[in-house]
Amino acid sequence: MTRRILLSAGLAATAGLMVMAETLPAQAQVRAFVTNERDHTMSVVDLDSLKVIETVKTGRRPRGITASPDGKLIYVAASDDNRVEVYDSKTFKLVKTLRSGPDPELFVLAPSGNPLYIANEDDNMVTAVNVENNELVAEIPVGVEPEGMGVSPDGKYLVNTSETTNMAHVIDTATNEVIENILVDSRPRVAQFNHDGTQLWVSAEVGGTVAVIDPKDKWKIIKKIGFEIPGVNKDAIQPVGIRITKDGSKAFVALGPANRVAIVDTKTLEVEKYLLVGQRVWQLGFTPDEKLILSTNGNSNDVSIIDVGAEKVTKSVAVGRSPWGVVMVP
């Protein structure tokens, strides 16, 4: 913690520092959970010391990761074991496993914490599972290679992207039926709503764009954001992970083998800045206070720590092989 204050001291206003100091005890316990796809482990990083404090053995090929709303449970998709594993975020012990359908990659929890919506890549299906009793709630047929999963803040809409169909499918969670299909660019990977549900962002990895969609206006695409980085080949710019700040002002987009995270102004939808991170940056995650955002860098086997206010990369921390996803809990 001390080190981080020192790092940002030059940039933070005095008042800001006071606020940070006041939240210090809670901050000190923030931990990042990182799935390592090719190690079959999960690294636990203490965000105070910026050290890996535990490496948890998981099922095979852990990818998608999320936390329960109260931060007590960590959900991990063990893709090659066809199950979801649930860990205690304090003891790091496996609490239980949930059914997932075949080859789970990404999932999203309903804002209430139940059910868990899982994309089954090999099965053209989204599976909804009750996390309390492990019962199958629904199986929803979608396009080819379902991947990205986003849920609206009010929980009414679930959005799944299908990588080969190149669509975002909007599902009404009351009926579990597809109500809209939005054609986006090639290989859509991630769907993310902003916090007031006025924008839906969908990244297209091979298309190289992020579509910003208006859920209130018939799910129309407002704009496709393109990316240009001097000296980086266009083929290498592959948007994947997306995170939007709670105040709705900034979006962070991980650009894969371009090794950059783009910062986008959510009002103008213009790219403001590119931050150099590790190799093949994949997914992103905020700390609970949103002062930091972490990127998983699959080919350099580390996570980059980005100061959200200063818009700077402050540190990288080595984790396991092919870090895939990250979630942080207080």
Partner: protein, 414 residues
């Protein structure tokens, strides 16, 4: 390479292909030879169902003199990939009321594929995948020149089809020999294995492949330090241990590059050479469009889907036919119209990209209609790398370092 594209008795294949089609969970329209719906009413796009009728002509290649058990070609080789392409297209297309059908014609080795292609065109198939020899492909292209049909070459690797013999109504999904040998050359140069011993087989294809190897060596600065033509007969398996060491005493070299598209002797070279040197080319480290060991960039999902449908691994020709169908289907998602002209324009549009599970998108070169895509370098049990290699840069896309770039193109449409 050709070895995997090899042959089986034509009759048996025909029967199995028909059975496979009948057993496919496609809408009934896929199996019927109903005449094409008149391609005239695309006014309110997406309102009415748009039907994409895809034909496929495969002429069985000549049987090689022997086939190793591991590389025996499945009877539905290639066609199986087109069938998966149709299934994928239907899974995506149902959201936009797009329908896709496949009509397959298998022609025996000594048969004539032209009437089969003409029949498919007359039956209203606006898109026809062709796996036929180069000379037949030109005949078909010229015969159908004035028809509203787009031909997609999924099999023939001949450079001439992309150069002086190019045709405006043909797109090439199969990589040509220049792409394959350039991909290999880039990797060998990256490894600093610059001195090559080129060992060429007896067939016309082998000679063309060897010529392509020489061109790639020149292009990327490698040196062919020795050349030989295989003259130990079509089946030297029993005597390989004594004959290959003698055949490979050519002085120093870094790697043996073999040109043997039928698979007559390439696989008996490794571990039998006089010097301890690796083998690459059509055998050993092979340059291919696809291989069952390809896993990255979502490739394992395509492999899994293929395995589920066909209970076997996906081979290069399967992949090339899948790509052919997928190219039409993905363009159709954008046009939402099955009009051949619109699909052709979309396929050749500057912003068209085809995600083919190789890390970067494939697209068609406007100057010769060749699909530019990464090429695998793989041995029997592992994909070693994909070319283009990192060090090879290009002002447009690194993919244009493989095969014929615009300045080298001798293709003139019309």
């Amino acid at each position: 390479m050709k070895r995997m594209v090899g042959a089986a008795a034509a009759k048996a294949v025909l029967a199995v292909a028909i059975l496979a089609m009948a057993g496919m969970p496609l809408p009934a329209s896929a199996q019927q030879e109903t005449p094409a719906p008149a391609p005239t009413a695309p006014k309110p796009a997406a309102a009415a169902t748009q039907s994409f009728r895809i034909g496929l002509v495969r002429q069985m290649p000549e049987l090689p003199p022997w086939i190793a058990p591991l590389t025996a070609p499945p009877e539905n080789l290639g066609v199986a990939g087109a069938e998966l392409g149709i299934r994928d297209a239907l899974a995506s297309g149902r959201f936009l009321k797009l329908d896709y059908t496949l009509a397959t014609e298998i022609v025996p080795t000594d048969g004539d594929p032209l009437p089969a292609a003409q029949q498919l065109a007359d039956a209203g198939n606006g898109f026809i995948l062709l796996d036929v020899p180069a000379a037949q492909l030109i005949r078909i292209a010229d015969a159908l020149k004035d028809k509203d049909v787009l031909l997609i070459n999924v099999g023939a690797p001949d450079d001439s089809l992309r150069q002086q013999d190019c045709r405006a109504n043909v797109l090439h999904v199969a990589p040509n020999r220049a792409m394959l040998t350039d991909a290999l050359a880039q990797f060998l140069m990256t490894k600093r294995w610059r001195n090559w011993f080129l060992f060429t087989g007896r067939t016309e294809g082998d000679k063309l492949y060897a010529e392509s190897v020489r061109n790639s060596a020149k292009k990327f600065g490698a040196k062919i330090v020795a050349e030989k033509v295989w003259d130990y007969g079509p089946d030297a398996r029993a005597t390989a241990q004594s004959e290959v060491p003698r055949a490979t005493q050519v002085g120093e070299y870094d790697i043996l590059v073999v040109a043997d598209e039928q698979g007559e002797f390439g696989d008996i070279l490794p571990y039998n050479t006089w010097l301890a040197r690796p083998t690459a080319g059509t055998q050993g480290l092979m340059s291919l469009a696809w291989h069952p060991t390809m896993e990255n960039w979502g490739a394992s999902q395509l492999q899994n889907r293929f395995f589920k449908q066909h209970q076997r691994m996906m081979q290069p020709l399967d992949f090339q036919m899948w790509e052919g169908v997928f190219a039409v289907a993905s363009a159709g998602m954008k046009t939402r119209s099955s009009e051949v002209g619109k699909i052709r324009a979309q396929l050749l549009a500057p912003d068209y990209d085809l995600p083919v599970f190789k890390g970067v998108a494939a697209s068609f070169r406007p100057w010769d209609h060749q699909l530019r895509q990464p090429i695998l370098l793989t041995h029997a049990t592992n994909t070693v790398t994909l070319s283009p290699q990192q060090a090879y840069l290009h002002q447009r896309t690194p993919l244009d370092t493989l095969g014929f770039d615009q300045p080298e193109s001798r293709c003139k449409f019309n």
